[in-house]
Symmetry: C2
Amino acid sequence: MDAMDNCTDSKDRILDKAEALFAEKGFHAVTVREITQAAHCNLAAVNYHFGNKQNLYLEVFRTRWMPRARRVQACFKDVLSTQDERSLAGIVHALAEAFLKGPLTDDERLCHSQLMIREMAKPGLATDMLVDEVIKPFFGDLVVLLGPYLPENGERERVMLDIVSIFAMVIYFNFARVPVTRVTGQEYDEVFKERLVEHIVRFCLKGLDMDKKEGA
Amino acid sequence: MDAMDNCTDSKDRILDKAEALFAEKGFHAVTVREITQAAHCNLAAVNYHFGNKQNLYLEVFRTRWMPRARRVQACFKDVLSTQDERSLAGIVHALAEAFLKGPLTDDERLCHSQLMIREMAKPGLATDMLVDEVIKPFFGDLVVLLGPYLPENGERERVMLDIVSIFAMVIYFNFARVPVTRVTGQEYDEVFKERLVEHIVRFCLKGLDMDKKEGA
DNA sequence: GTCTATAGCAGGATAGAC
DNA sequence: GTCTATCCTGCTATAGAC
């Protein structure tokens, strides 16, 4: 398809297409034939370069998913460092922005969260790598970062749940595009995504925040 | 396994096991052989009763998923009707409670949300049925119910996003048990689930709500 | 490093006895 | 309704020419 296809070697093309297909359909629903056809190379290339299908899947995470996760985290820290004053609102906004708009293209972002969700749904081949090398360290950073805003020092669990909740929002709105679009009637264009970031920041900071009009 | 297995007919046993397996692994990762073995019946039974694997999958949604979704919604309305005064907090609490504790057993709830998430991740065989017959009508009800609390009548989209956000929390905490457990160190026992309900209600109503200690 | 050909096997589906 | 036996397709993986 792409004019560049012949410039990059088949190993890279396979990794690219494999990632997209694994994200879209899941490991079992994708066949090696499908991948090699999409990558415009021979069926045997997967076994030659990666040994077998499982290892190709793992390589997708090693060479594609992990670096991208690091890019997003770097973006988050970049945004933070440019803020002259540190505030809770600033941190949440940086988080939502890095994950929902950040350095990734739309396709990358969708692909990225789909791969993660699939792996998180049920412990899979790449779960350990993902949890130990990316999720846990990043959560550790966030706990430290949000420490000053803790109600008490003892309530570590509450902070954990709050952080997870922010991710819940970001990941859900990325992943559940189909029902969101069907229910709201909104396509995921730039305008809507900007509104989503605003919504997520507001919701995470203030919740529904409709108390003014209590009493039906 | 169960002592009751021989009492219910094979059609029901197949539906039960198929649902659990489809939820756990996804459509493609499950084989008909696996299902029939788990259901202690013959391989040919699936084709005899359901024609083919795809139709079995659809029947799982028709005869298992949909009735359960209705039970949860009924529970939500029940709780609402017992509240003497209607309030935003009451509605959110009823929602979180119905979905996170409600009428379902733990296994049912996990199974239920896994099936839905898989279907929502990418439009699948049952997506239309699910969206048109369950999600859209229920969202319609919620929009009406939350209408009195709208900031303005024009802001329908904001209410939609708020409702979706509540579901995002509920579904994520149900679905992403693995990372939640790994990060928080908490198993999903009764105590933790009760805390989760409290957390979700609080978070949805008030967000992070840490403004008191602004300024690091 | 790329390709063809094929081994070897697992899965879905069916025919037909009981 | 249940079972056995079997067909056939489509998959992963490999061997070996180029």
